[in-house]
Amino acid sequence: MPAPALIIRDLRFSYPEAAWALSVPHLQVEAGEHVLLVGGSGRGKSTLLQVVAGLRELGSGSVEVAGMRMDTLRGAARDEARGRSIGMIFQTFNLLHGFTALENVFAALMFSSMPAAEHEHRARTLLSTLGIANADAEVDRLSVGQQQRVAVARALAARPALVLADEPTASLDPENTETAMDLIQSACRAEGAALLCTSHDPSMRARFARIETIDAMIAGAAR
């Protein structure tokens, strides 16, 4: 049985001089499980994802991704672990401008453990599966919908155990929200990746079997 994609224990995090602190006593996401993290704006959803990804130092507690303690890793080791085990999808995609769709996926693969000889096949297959016909086009020439597909492909390229999606539909209209979430969830299922998705959109609740509310995790006072 595969290890849980994510286990958070007694996590506490606060920004310097912030009026609140993020507190997560326990959160476990099983391998391949899809979890929606909801809560109002400014409640720490994005911050939690950044802490899980090792982009922010937690105050105390532990974060384990696919059986690996992210919080004990430092520097390049943590960056390497993130590149191999975690994929991230952002509201504004954060693609590398000036690079092609293929190169954007390569960018994720170059920091993974996958042999370089397999990169092109993996990237083209993923992009093709996600409906990108012209993988060699610069991302700036692609439509918004196509850019999102490239972003999803990049997040899944290294076959991560966990995909963190930070408000992936915040800038989309309801119709495109449905399409985008169909894409993200089906791609994660196809790749066997767990998904931890944040959103403040109530309509998203229907798409997830498990919903965690971050408001309940706010301690209320900064340490």
């Binding site: 994005s46 950044q50 990804a53 982009l55 922010r56 520097g75 390049a76 960056d79 390497e80 993130r82 590149g83 191999r84 991230m88 952002f90 509201q91 504004t92 954060n94 693609l95 590398l96 401008h97 000036g98 690079f99 293929l102 190169e103 390569f106 960018a107 994720a108 693969l109 170059m110 920091f111 993974s112 370089a116 000889a117 397999e118 990169h119 092109e120 096949h121 990049r154 290294a158 930070d166 915040a170 800038s171």
Partner: protein, 434 residues
């Protein structure tokens, strides 16, 4: 089919291509400063080499010029005709006072169409080497063997267009003269009475001698004896039999002292130099020493130019640093994305540092090409304008030093922008733009 992927090198090149104007201007600045430095170093070395060449295997030069430096400039580099003569009896006394390997008399003062003439003995071609270890070689014809035969230096032959068998008239002094077929009574003091036949053309030596024409010493004496006799109202052909002691004048003596086999140095050098210096009627010079002195005189100016070129190189490195540092503001998101994908802080530091090194290397290599082209152009100009033959190839040692210095400066220039990339706060730069 070969696998494709993305490499650090591709990311670096893509970043540089994303801001072409800034990249090319910075490369251009580095190239200009590297080229400037290499040309200055190269010209200094080449000019030194060109001056070293003319003195060949001479140990001492005797003349009646005002100073040893002037003696060398006039006697070896044909800067001007020596103003004071040396009596033939003085030459004989010097020659007999010490067992020199050879003592070659020379006389300057005449010219052909602005090219200087040197009257000398046949020893000049058989014993004196214009470049040590490289004796004279004929491109065509032969060396002079009798009076009124003339041998052309390579540059003089080229500039005059003279060929073997043609006749020329020499001019007293450095004024205009002309070919034998075109006498002109109004062209100054031209020795129209005595045509000289071109019997030989020399191979280039890369020295100032290439600009000169060479005649037999006796021919020169006869020319001037003719003038003396004409002033005295004596008409008719002047021959060697008409020469008086006062006609037999020279302007220089090239001396080589005895040496040990396989050595160019002479143990008697300093003693003989001091002995000759005591004669107040003459000046004695060690050519190598005088050339060194000449370079010491101009070394300050040389140093200023090289200092300026180094300053340009440093300022181009500062431009590289500024261009990269300023580009960081627009690239923080790209760096943050790379970090999210798994790039370490060290890796993004290396990417930016590599950009700086690529700019510097591209600039330095372009500078080397520029310097080569500039050196070729400058050597062609120097040869055409003052007859100074210099080697336009770059000195490998200077090239390696300048290249290494430029790359080191490029590396230093990349440190600050690379440090800025290293410190990019990842999470803060992934948020949607406001």
């Amino acid at each position: 089919m070969s696998a494709k992927t993305l490499t650090d090198w591709q990311i670096v090149m893509r970043s540089l291509r994303a801001r072409p104007l800034s990249t090319w201007i910075t490369i251009g600045m580095v190239a200009t400063s590297v080229a400037l430095l290499l040309v200055l170093f190269g010209m200094r070395t080449a000019a030194r080499g060109a001056f070293d060449r003319g003195s060949g295997n001479i140990h001492l030069l005797v003349s009646a010029d005002p100073s040893p430096l002037v003696a060398v400039l006039n006697g070896i580099f044909y800067a001007n005709a020596p103003s004071k003569p040396i009596a033939w009896s003085k030459y004989q006394s010097i020659r007999s006072a010490f067992p020199y390997q050879w003592a070659i008399p020379t006389q300057q003062g005449d010219s052909y169409r602005g090219s200087p003439t040197m009257a000398t003995s046949t020893d000049f071609f058989s014993k004196f080497e214009p470049v040590a270890g490289e004796p004279w070689k004929l491109a065509s014809g032969k060396f002079f063997e009798r009076p009124f035969e003339i041998v052309l230096g390579a540059a003089a032959a080229k500039s005059s267009g003279l060929r073997l068998g043609q006749e020329v008239f020499l001019t007293h002094g450095s004024g205009a003269s002309r070919e034998g077929s075109e006498p002109d009574e109004h062209a100054g003091h031209v020795h129209t009475e005595y045509p000289f036949k071109v019997v030989g053309v020399l191979e280039p030596t890369g020295s100032a001698h290439d600009r000169a024409l060479f005649i037999d010493l006796e021919s020169s004496w006869i020319l001037h004896a003719f003038d003396r006799r004409e002033r005295a109202g004596i008409s008719g052909v002047t021959t060697a039999a008409d020469l008086e002691d006062d006609d037999r004048k020279i302007t220089g003596i090239l001396l080589r002292l005895p040496t040990r086999p396989g050595s160019d140095a002479s143990a008697a050098m300093q003693q003989q130099f001091d002995t000759l210096r005591r004669d107040t009627a003459i000046v004695v010079a060690q050519p190598a020493q005088q050339i060194q002195k000449l370079f010491e005189i101009v070394s300050n100016v040389d140093g200023i130019f090289i200092g300026m070129a180094v300053a340009v190189l440093i300022s181009s490195s500062l431009s590289t640093m500024l261009a990269l540092y300023n580009s960081m503001a627009a690239r923080t998101r790209q760096i943050a994305v790379l970090r999210v994908l798994g790039a370490s802080q060290g890796r993004v530091f290396g990417l930016v540092l590599t950009e700086s090194l690529v700019i510097t290397m591209a600039g330095a290599l372009s500078g080397i090409v520029l310097a080569l082209l500039g050196g070729i152009a400058a050597s062609a100009w120097l040869k055409a304008s003052i007859g100074l033959v210099i080697d336009p190839t770059l000195d490998p040692r200077s090239t390696v030093i300048v290249l290494g210095g430029a790359v080191a400066l490029g590396g230093i220039a990349g440190l600050l922008p690379a440090w800025r990339a290293y410190q990019v706060p990842v999470a803060d730069n992934l948020r949607p733009a406001a």
